[in-house]
Symmetry: C4
Subunit: 198 residues, 4 copies
């Protein structure tokens, strides 16, 4: 089992998740009065949010996987676990888009995001395990403050959804903004490691 094959399979799953989210977005039954179009707005906005998240995962996942030389069974299943939670994103997106002012759908979106982030952290841990403690990748990830803040925000969004869904939705946007910049730490580590190979 080569890294390339895990990457190609993951890319396939992620490439399918993106357009599937729009499939959930059935065209309105009517021919489009202003009121009907306005009713579509939350669904559209939640799609944009999820598209950003899946794009960020695709990007960072790629950089992370590039540091793997020999994938172990643990890395393989940790990766499938991440794909599992990413494959729940279209469901959560459709539900939050349909009931944007209700607590449960927004909380469900937070739960999916929380578990996807945990799955990513676990995958990162298994991959780090194969590197030395002072490897460029280990130093690059360092304290992983971005990952920790994200986990806290997702956790908070689940509870806050029952107070006010809009606060949780603002948190989702904030975390997406935080990650929109590609993870240069890991990107740079890849370069350093490759430079180290004589």
């Amino acid at each position: 089992m080569t890294t390339g094959r895990i990457e190609a399979f993951s890319d396939g799953v992620i490439a399918i998740i993106l357009p599937l989210m729009v499939l959930e977005r059935r065209p309105p039954a009517g021919s489009g009065a202003a009121a009907e179009l306005l009713a579509l707005a939350p669904a559209f906005l939640s799609y944009i949010l999820s598209f950003l998240y899946v794009g960020i995962y695709w990007n960072n996942h790629h950089h992370l996987l590039h540091t793997v030389r020999r994938p172990t069974a643990a890395i393989l299943w940790a990766n499938l676990h991440l794909l599992f939670w990413l494959s729940m994103v279209p469901f959560a997106t459709a539900w939050m888009g349909a009931f944007p002012t209700d607590a449960a759908p927004t909380a469900a979106y937070g739960v999916v995001m929380l578990f996807a982030a945990i799955a990513y952290t676990v995958l990162q841990g298994f991959i780090l395990h194969g590197h030395a403690d002072d490897s460029p990748l280990a130093r690059a990830i360092g304290s992983d403050w971005k990952g920790k803040i994200s986990l806290l925000c997702y956790l908070g969004s689940i509870g806050l959804a029952y107070l006010r869904p809009a606060i949780s939705q603002a948190l989702f946007l904030g975390v997406a903004a935080l990650w929109l910049v590609p993870d240069r730490r890991v990107e740079q580590a890849v370069c350093e490691e490759q430079a180290n190979i004589p």
Copy 2:
């Protein structure tokens, strides 16, 4: 992040969009009287139009991406932005196909096409940015009159849909015909650039 991987991922997303558009086209509930089949005609025609558009984007996108040597983060996100608007095509196709004589669905189709074209222009701009002003690609794209006419037509189609949807639909067909010829300018530039590499 190599160009090959962006290309493979984009191909995956586009490959899924094509058959998804037919999935939106549920088979008639009845067993097919002539009237029922006739009612399917607009949906079928709008599917053919969108298939052409997505095919054209796939073709030109490929030629454009081949001129990229080192993809930057800007190119990566500009590409995801283009995929976002292309992934909206099945939605717009299904809606225009269901209400072909109404203004809003046809205008929505024009909006999706306009933003896809803008996303393509932005991506082209970022890619050109990495080339010299007198590079074969820069000279090949030149004034980009095709791109500019298309943007104008899409913009016009949004307004004209409220006058008469059929005019907008004729514009969509016209633009597709304009692009059906693969973008030889860029194709040739790729060859020239490769010839320039000693």
Copy 3:
């Protein structure tokens, strides 16, 4: 544009068509009395038939494409035209499976099969055009009696559906059986051509 990329893109589209056909097959609303399961049988049988057809196309398409050295724009668009008709197969399968004893759905299945076969013949023609008249591929395809018989059967099935859908369905099965054997003529031609390359 290399042959490899057209092949990868076609494979992507075909790989998606297969599971999409089952998606059309929604699980029964009830919990499965014998009568409900029996009602699913035609849908299931039409899925098996279409799975066979798409598998045959995937197999033969691969052998054909392997004889292409430099894909032209004509080959590219002829290939997209074939993918267009293959992407209509899930629709036709679902409709024939839902109304197996009615004329129009079976005739529609025949129409899709007829145009897919025409598209394949056109693609084959464009590819042959790039070969010499006495090339191994040209000699291998020869009179293409299999292709001609298939076209006739599909044409007949459209008319016969209005007489008795079961006759057309038997024709579909017969043609599938005819092609189930991979196209050894082309397969062999590929070997010969590769042997000819010094």
Copy 4:
């Protein structure tokens, strides 16, 4: 037809099956009272089970295919036959998830699993056919007790579903647990064979 292409096509089909299963899982029509969420639990659990199964097939399929040097037509069609039954998994998953306490949906899940396992055994047999009787792969698979136990469990689950669906569902979980460990026998055989190539 190379092994790589069969593998890439199979990966494509399997990559699509995973997110398709969630698509079947439409978001609840309401905004998520506790009772509504609880009603989703069986559907969610059956999705997790199927995700595990498809992940296991993907993993073992890969190791098996890597021992193939020249794919024959028999291997090609045995592989498509396996993909056929895997493509029925989303259907069976959705049905069992919707009616978890009824006999027929659980039995149907067992039938799909039984035929997928038979298809895998047939594919394995055709691949073994191309190896010597004392090849590392032949010795590695040996008596294939895992495969035989699985077949028996699936067979049993079909009958037991009519007694008590929960017993069959426990059997499904047990078999998944049995296979969760990647098939090291074959994995090791691949290494040995590659070591044998001088």
